[in-house]
Amino acid sequence: GCGSGGDPAADDVTSPAAGGPAASAAGTEIPAQEQDTAVAALVPKEFRDKGTVTVASDASYPPMEFMASDGQTVVGLDPDLGKALGEVMGLKVTIVNSQFDAIIPGLSAGKFDIGMSGFNDTEERRKILDFVDYYKGGSSFFAKSGGVVVKTLDDLCGHRVAVQKGTVQQDDVTAQDAKCKSAGQKSVDLQVYPDQAAANLALVSGRADVSIADTPIAAYQVAQSGGQFALTGDEYGVVMHGIAAPKGSGLVKPLTAALDTLMKSGAYQKILDKWGIGHTKLDAPLVNGAEPQQ
């Protein structure tokens, strides 16, 4: 898939000396969008009065979102897209860092208005959230350079696999483990770590053979590892990724419309290209994986 590697943001955050704000880090500046009055009209009064919308992101998930070198600004694909969406809707967007686990409780508690943190649009999550889907992407394997070779999920039997907790990949490997067992093969040694950094340490220290993550994240990881890690096998399980809003939130409609505007203006494509996942684009926004009902 997307092993392009040469991520523009990389150099800025690796060194403590680099000062400047995140925007310059991103290299490509995304121009400000014009407000679309039709879209703005869809925004519920409550938000129009406030003039702002609060977006939660877990800033430990590059390139989707991560801390800029100033230690305060969240940068990445989601913040860029979030800002652009806000401009179209005529709202100021505040990106708030939150641990991934805390985003969904925070949405129910009214701490955040929407979540943009590379959410996979899954059946389970749709029970409590609505998703405005904005790209489709799969998962990729990576391992130590010169380590195990894994082509598909079926090759995982008998291997030690490190994944981050709460990810679709965790579910994928759990299902695969059952398959291995029923096929009489060796089971998968699944290791669920609280964050990707710990999963990576498990790879480095040889506790695990292979890790799986969303393709953009896996690619970024490998690019950052200085040759220690390599992608292996094929991308699999392409699914929708969406902007999460609490069920029944009045923001789903304006968000869908705003995304549509961005897609038509080409800004959407620019943002995806900037963060190296241009090929994952959707042609039109979807809500909960389907055409939005008007």
Partner: protein, 310 residues
């Protein structure tokens, strides 16, 4: 002077009934506390956001119970390592041998000084730093070497990380306990021909225990919850088990309540244990005199307040 008055008084009060001191403030306070408690219970039970049905569905589920078992196992083993090593370190630290006390000092400094989270990562992923551990002559030939990953399983790493860290804290607690014992005790023991080791074991430590046990109870209860840090080694103890469940089904609040209830339960059991251990080591103190029945010993603590009328 007042003798006249006194005599009269004495005659008239001879059979006068005694009235205990009235404490109206107490009753007002009691009423306020009762209302507040009622409110608290009321909101806990009626606020549907707590989702008590989900809480109790998960309460005895296999995954939670397995996590609970691992938590208890880690707590017990780590505390044992911590207490034993901590006592050794405390005695070393108080030794007049500068080498022993220096080593103990450095150990305590390093292990108290760094986050146990980092220590757990260190032991868990030691092979990222030292892929092979070897036994041999320092700066000379090696005899044999092991793969660090084989030698140190995640469980061993968890025990090492928690236990060695705990020892540093226990060492300070034991030191304070030993220092709290009157010097005359050790002297009396030595005058009877005891060696320092024997005096320490038979005379000083049993008395130091009165001071050591309460903070050790604190530590054990703290450890119960510190074990949740081993999540970073992908070792699913109680809290991490709950987190793994709610990261899949998003019932965050009820699952956190489930885990908390279990913690509360074990803490209560530990506290009861601590009470009996404390009572054991308080034997011989003034108030334990005559307090052999259970009620007496339950009243013992209150009775120690300065100025309490017996």
């Amino acid at each position: 002077m007042q003798v006249q008055h006194m005599t009269q008084a004495a005659e008239s009060v001879e059979s006068m009934p005694t009235v205990r001191r009235r404490q109206p403030g107490r009753w007002v306070a009691a009423a306020v506390v009762c209302v507040l408690l009622a409110m608290l219970v009321n909101t806990f039970v009626t606020n549907e956001r707590f989702q008590w049905d989900v809480v109790f569905d998960w309460f005895t589920s296999d995954r939670i119970l397995a996590g609970l078992g691992r938590t208890i196992q880690l707590t017990v083993i780590s505390m044992l390592i911590g207490i034993v090593l901590g006592l050794v370190l405390a005695v070393m630290r108080l030794s007049d041998n500068p080498l022993l006390s220096g080593v103990a000092w450095a150990y305590i400094w390093l292990f108290r000084g760094t986050p146990v989270f980092v220590q757990l990562l260190f032991w868990g992923f030691i092979s990222a730093l030292y892929p092979r551990l070897s036994l041999g002559v320092p700066f000379g030939p090696e005899f044999t070497s092991f793969s660090a990953n084989e030698l140190i399983s995640p469980f061993v790493a968890a025990i090492l990380g928690l236990g060695l860290n705990e020892a540093a804290y226990m060492a300070e607690i034991a030191r304070a306990g030993i220092l709290s014992v009157d010097r005359g005790q050790a002297e009396a023991a030595q005058a009877l021909g005891m060696t320092r080791g024997l005096a320490l074991r038979r005379i000083v430590l049993p008395q130091a225990m009165r001071v050591i046990v309460p903070p050790t109870g604190n530590q054990a209860i703290g450890m119960l919850k510190t074990t949740s840090l081993v999540a970073v080694l992908a070792y699913p103890e109680l809290l991490y088990s709950a987190q793994l469940i709610y990261s899949a089904n998003y019932q965050t609040i009820p699952l956190l309540i489930t885990a908390s209830l279990w913690y509360l339960l074990i803490t209560s059991v530990l506290s009861v244990g601590q009470f009996f251990v404390e009572r054991h080591f308080a034997r011989g103190s003034v108030i334990s005199a005559g307090a052999t029945d259970r009620r007496g010993s339950l009243r013992r603590l209150a009775a120690r307040l300065p100025g309490r009328r017996p």
